[in-house]
Symmetry: C2
Subunit: 426 residues, 2 copies
């Protein structure tokens, strides 16, 4: 039984998910300037103010007094661990009262803070790590061969667009795009998408990684991970369907990708590591560069993830957000270490601030779906919401929220920052 | 007949391609620091030294005293034009002799300069703008349907990997990767690629463009272009073939992409603008957002592009580089303005320093091919080089050079910076 570390910060120990065991990083805007912060309970600890109080450690002082985490990420896992230890001591009940007094001045209530994107995202890669998602999408478009022959050998991925990664809360404007002609020989149409979807994903935030031309051994792969965040890979399914052959998704995705404002440190997830998902007996053993005993034993993550929806009507009726789908990251076919080892297997360099997302997280059951494409069978079978509204796809005014929670036995839970987006008209 | 502006800089007027009408931008390393520069003849003009001499205009002084062009790019086309005018006056024969004397101190012979990547590349998009290339590649893999139904409606593209964009001269390490099993039921292999290829491309360098959620009208699209550079989209064809379904090329491309060290200003290409390539009478009219009279009349570029190869044996015999293939950008199906208008058609934001590449440039004739995949029919019919060596794909020790030249009537020519890469062993 793990001892639960207690914080002196008011409300932190009862915050259910944002206690001393978590300490996620973010960025808040204060008087026009953006500063890095760490969340404890319902408060954001302004790191620049902590530096002014001379309470930041020398070894990462300048790197944390910046508008984004990138320079801190580049310092690597030893520094991240030292900083986490330092911060934990400052916020622990055993901290001296004069220290507590100073820190109190750097705590900002979250309802008074505007949160910004805490990263410069240089690269955004989207994997396809859920076999259940890949299979169900495949059934829709290739009923004779739902799962392609490469799926169980390669952690399939594509390059996403980094410039349009936005922080949770940023409205998402319904994109225009080309849609397939209704009949052969007719021209395609250019119009606002009529098939707007969300995708429930988890993203790894890369810290210090590899130089160009150098691979990363799977045994060392997790050293590149600074933390995780929820990610919504908004998708215009009609645009995507018409454009994606032969080079993959492009404008059907690149109009916006939302992430949580809080980056959960990889270290905080340590108690929630589990063995890789059980394979079918006929499944191939991954190639050596994707295989390690440690990865098999505890390479996966046990995180409950879910998506919910509020609509103009549900908000007018003050209903709570209505569930869309829920799953668990332990059901993914590929692990974070495998994703990283594969990404670097050709010598491609990862950089601090890069995002590696899992792709839509769906579970083995039909209702464990991480996007509408699966639930509504490409829009053919609309979903009936808790207030009896129907949705084939997202409507203007809809707001999707991704949530995630780690819970095991008597351990204090961890709640990832919500990732929310409101659909604005085209 | 255009009057040829003469420069006082020694050798500039006889430099065949790097005269006063060109003035491309680059970055040189000097005593450990990287500085922006402009090329005139065989010399690089160090802009920081020019600033020290108080010869840079105030309006872009700080932006040009930086290690990359990004801040200058963000200033937009009016500033770029003013700076070009300013620089042209300084280097023109009519410049005062005391000014010439000062500038002379800022001129560095190119054989003494190490050139660096002059951009922070935040996004790299690769189009598929050559119909001839798309059709010939399609014939190899889908003989029943070489050209997909979307091709003549959509400027097809995918997101490339920005982190591995390198400057010409950087060695390219042969990447490892997964290759398809030889027989069904067998596992794939993980080994150095056995099908390494080059791709002859032109890339647009984006300057100031659009905010997220805002489209770019085709009439304004060229205002986003700062300049162009050659680009080699190195490709591992065996890796690509096994991984690319269903989400497109990924590790088969992301190990390295080379660009010229010199960015040719868009304004310098003005005399080399031509009407869009003739269409087949059955070809559809592009949708309105991809159509403008101006684009039809002079949206294309008349640039001769070519690739050449030197091998260990050819260098030992001191043979000149041997031709691989040559084409002209006027044969591309889609123009720069169409590529930009399409890229932003869903509201995706372009940023200063982004690269939008054409994809392999091939012409209507078989020998006008911009990659080995086409020439050797996916490696099945090896190419015989000028020294009688054969190549199905690139070998270790091979060096590929992309070159480009604009030539029309009596106009002074423009030569784009060469883009070279040497294949280092895995």
């Amino acid at each position: 039984m793990t001892t639960v570390a207690q914080s002196w910060v008011e409300g932190a120990n009862e915050s259910h998910g944002f206690g001393l065991n978590h300490l996620p990083f973010g960025a808040l805007e204060h008087k026009g300037a953006v500063r890095l912060c760490v969340r404890i309970g319902g408060l954001a600890l302004d790191l620049q103010q902590l530096a002014t109080q001379r309470l930041l450690p020398d070894f990462c002082d300048a790197e944390l007094c910046a508008p984004t985490l990138n320079r801190f990420l580049a310092m690597g896992p030893v520094v991240w661990a030292e900083f986490r230890e330092h911060l934990t001591a400052l916020l622990h009940v055993s901290a001296k009262s004069n220290v507590q007094k100073k820190i109190r001045e750097a705590l900002v209530p979250l309802d008074k803070a505007t949160l910004r994107l805490p990263l410069e995202v240089g690269g955004y890669t989207d994997f396809y790590a859920s076999l259940h998602h890949a299979r169900r999408v495949g059934e829709l478009f290739r009923p004779d061969q739902p799962l392609l022959p490469n799926y169980k050998h390669i952690p399939i991925a594509y390059n996403g667009r980094a410039s349009s990664v936005v922080v949770s809360g940023t409205p998402v404007r319904r994109p225009w795009g080309q849609r397939k002609p209704a009949h052969e020989g007719e021209p395609p149409t250019f119009a606002p998408t009529a098939a707007l979807d969300y995708e429930l994903e988890l993203a790894l935030v890369i810290g210090r990684a590899n130089a160009l031309g150098e691979r990363i051994a799977i045994e060392q792969a997790e050293e590149a991970i600074f933390g995780v965040t929820l990610l919504n890979d908004w998708s215009a399914r009609d645009v995507q369907a018409w454009e994606y052959q032969p080079l993959g998704p492009f404008l059907g995705k690149s109009f916006a990708t939302s992430i949580s404002p809080w980056i959960t440190p990889w270290a905080a997830l340590d108690p929630f590591r589990v063995p890789v998902a059980a394979r079918e007996t006929s499944d191939p053993r991954p190639l050596d560069y994707l295989w390690s005993d440690k990865n098999q034993q505890r390479g996966a993550l046990d995180i409950n993830v879910s998506a919910s929806l509020s609509t103009e009507r549900s908000r007018a009726a003050t209903l709570p957000p209505m569930p869309l789908g829920a799953a668990n990251t332990r059901d993914l076919y590929w692990t974070p270490a495998q994703m990283i080892a594969h990404h670097a297997s050709n010598g491609c360099n990862l950089r601090p601030g890069d995002l590696l997302a899992t792709g839509t997280i769906s579970g083995p059951q039909r209702e464990q779906a991480g996007c509408l494409l699966e639930v509504t069978r490409n829009g053919q079978q609309p979903l009936t919401l808790a207030n009896d509204e129907q949705r084939a796809w997202l409507m203007d005014g809809d707001e999707v929220t991704l949530s995630a929670r780690c819970e095991r036995d008597a351990l204090p839970s961890i709640v990832l920052g919500d990732c929310t987006g409101y659909i604005a008209p085209a």
